[in-house]
């Protein structure tokens, strides 16, 4: 029950933030939509006309995932950094729930609240391009769930780095391009990327949304990689964060900026 209350508190905080600063939320949505329009225009102007439809579908899925990865992976770094500046990180660190559980609930809350934006962006981009993708919720949900778990693990690594190093804003800016690279590069070009966080998931989601792949048609090996990645990155992320927290406590860095 305490964990559920923790999640509820963070969900409510995110929801209040989104509602209270609605113009900011709308501005963010418009910015991402404009970026998408830029990509769409790029494909139409310089892209190969014979593969234009496939390219647009590819971009829609990748683009949505890129946004999701920014929320989960990059945003947690910014959050930890800004909480350290505000002085609230110390308060969170003093909660008997433990800061890793608080951050986890933050990530989950952030994904849930931002899914409104993700779905809006998806339908807005499909409407703009006229390319209607296969939104098979039953097949997509487990893949998304496992992919987000690996993203959360990656997010914990970034949070751990932020808690120790603090001034990581420049790195977080670069990170968005690394995330774009992971999301946009097709697995057929670099198969080894399947073992990187979220790449396999994005590939499978592309399969579902573009090629109409169903849950039963996905290979066992793909499931194993997906589940393995989710477990591996989540555990590694959590361990790395706990280790960083210990270093921060030893050096007296929690709350310092």
């Amino acid at each position: 029950m305490p964990l559920f209350n923790l999640l509820k508190a963070n969900l409510r905080k995110d929801y209040i933030g989104m509602k209270r600063y609605l113009p900011n939320t709308i501005a963010m949505l418009i910015t991402f939509y404009l970026i998408f329009l830029g990509m769409f225009a790029g494909i139409q102007i310089v892209g190969d006309p014979s593969t234009q439809d496939a390219n647009i579908q590819f971009v829609i899925v990748n683009y949505i995932f890129w946004y999701l990865s920014l929320i989960v992976v990059q945003d947690i770094g910014f959050q930890v950094g800004s909480e350290a500046v505000q002085g609230t990180l110390e308060q969170l660190s003093m909660s008997p729930m433990g800061i890793s559980k608080i951050l986890l609930s933050r990530l989950v809350a952030s994904v849930i609240v931002n899914s409104i934006i993700v779905v809006s962006l998806l339908y807005l981009s499909m409407l703009t391009t006229g390319q209607w993708l296969n939104v098979d919720v039953i097949t997509l949900l487990p893949i998304l769930f496992l992919t987000i778990i690996s993203m959360v693990g990656f997010g914990f690594i970034i949070a751990g780095l932020t808690i120790v190093l603090k001034q990581v804003n420049a790195f977080l800016q670069i990170l968005q391009f690394i995330l774009a690279g992971l999301v946009f590069i097709p697995l057929s070009v670099a198969p080894f990327l399947a073992f990187f966080p979220m790449v396999k998931g994005v590939d499978l989601v592309r399969g579902v949304m573009i090629d109409g792949l169903s849950l039963g048609a996905i290979h066992l090996a793909d499931y194993i990689i997906l589940i393995g990645n989710a477990g591996f990155y989540f555990v590694i992320g959590l361990l790395f964060f706990r280790y960083s927290e210990q270093i921060a406590m030893k050096k007296g860095l929690i709350g310092h900026y």
């Binding site: 029950m1 505000q86 002085g87 308060q91 660190s93 008997p96 406590m249 929690i254």
Partner: protein
């Protein structure tokens, strides 16, 4: 009385980033705090008090030593120990400035695992007690510093933890709110039987609130005593005597012979004598001379020493002298 916090042989060093020089922030500190006690932690900047407080809060790991909170070893069972402790370390910076007063209280309650329903009565009660009820829907950003400070203390009260640590609770707030905060803290300790540890540069706050004071300097405890004992220790037997007329040369020499450190300020209307006595008996000698010489006395004032002066004397290392003199 029951011990709630036990700090023994605490030791903490930091390494300077560029020079790799080791700095000892806390050097073998030991003390204990009783349930319901208000303890003041004093020291100049860099003395080690913040490090000590943060080690008690579990935000900094000590190099050596042990901290027990309500019988729980805080290094071994940090999260368990945190159930018994809450703190206001950065004052108004401990709050979410974009949330309202009530939302802050509800959010922090949630972060401790409580549901909004569970804590509703507690939150209502705190809003009432801290005079924040009419501001509950106000965004923290728009509150005065004093109100933010009160809210930060209210947040610390949410958890029902036995120990509350406050770092500079009156820093940057106006005099009236400062008094209000003091009253609140006194109330918290008495009514709720909470243990409070206050670190402050405001000596009036310490003198008013704390039953006991620990003064830390250069990472070590210089003194650990009751405020009134420290005041007594540095008490001076100095008097200012206002005279109704000017002293003659002969009278002045007579007094100076007996009291060599006498300070005389002649004035046609009101002359004053300032004298420091070695013992209480000497006051009779002084008055014998004044009576014999028929010098009218208009008033006698004993010079008092405030806690700020005591603190400065202790930090300057005058503790030893005071002990010798008093004994």
């Amino acid at each position: 009385m029951e011990t709630i916090i036990d700090v023994s042989n605490l030791y903490k060093t930091y390494k300077k980033r560029k020079s790799n020089e080791i700095i000892t922030a806390v050097n073998n500190i030991s003390f204990s705090v009783q349930k319901g006690e208000i303890l003041g932690l004093l020291g100049p900047n860099g003395a080690g008090k913040s490090s000590t407080i943060k080690m008690i809060c579990g935000l900094i790991k000590p190099d050596k030593g042990a901290i027990t909170i309500n019988g729980i070893n805080s290094q071994k069972h940090r999260l368990k120990a945190l159930h018994h402790i809450s703190a206001v370390l950065e004052g108004n910076r401990n709050l979410y400035w974009r949330l309202t007063v009530r939302e802050n209280l509800e959010y922090f309650a949630g972060n401790r695992g409580y549901s909004r329903k569970d804590r509703k009565d507690t939150i209502d009660d705190l809003l009432e007690k801290f005079h924040l009820k009419n501001k509950e829907k106000e965004i923290v950003n728009r509150l005065s510093r004093g109100m933010q400070q009160k809210l930060a203390i209210a947040v610390a009260m949410l958890a029902d933890s036995e120990v509350i640590l406050l770092d500079e609770p009156t820093l940057g707030i106006d005099v009236q709110t400062g008094y209000e905060v003091r009253d609140l803290l006194q109330n918290i300790a008495k009514k709720y039987n909470r243990t409070i540890i206050i670190s402050s540069h405001d000596m009036d706050v310490i003198q008013d609130l704390c039953e006991r004071t620990i003064i830390i300097n250069n990472g070590t405890i210089v003194t650990d005593d009751r405020v009134e004992n420290l005041l007594r220790l540095f008490e001076v037997r100095a008097y200012t005597i206002t005279l109704g007329k000017l002293l003659t040369k002969h009278q002045f020499h007579l007094l100076q012979q007996k009291f060599p450190q006498l300070d005389y300020s002649p004035d046609i209307l009101q002359s004053t004598l300032e004298v420091e006595l070695n013992n209480n008996e000497e006051i009779y000698d002084l008055f014998d001379i004044l009576k014999l010489e028929q010098i009218p006395v208009e008033s006698i004032d004993r010079k008092t020493i405030n806690f700020e002066q005591v603190f400065l004397k202790i930090v300057k290392g005058e503790m030893q002298n005071a002990f010798i003199q008093s004994s």
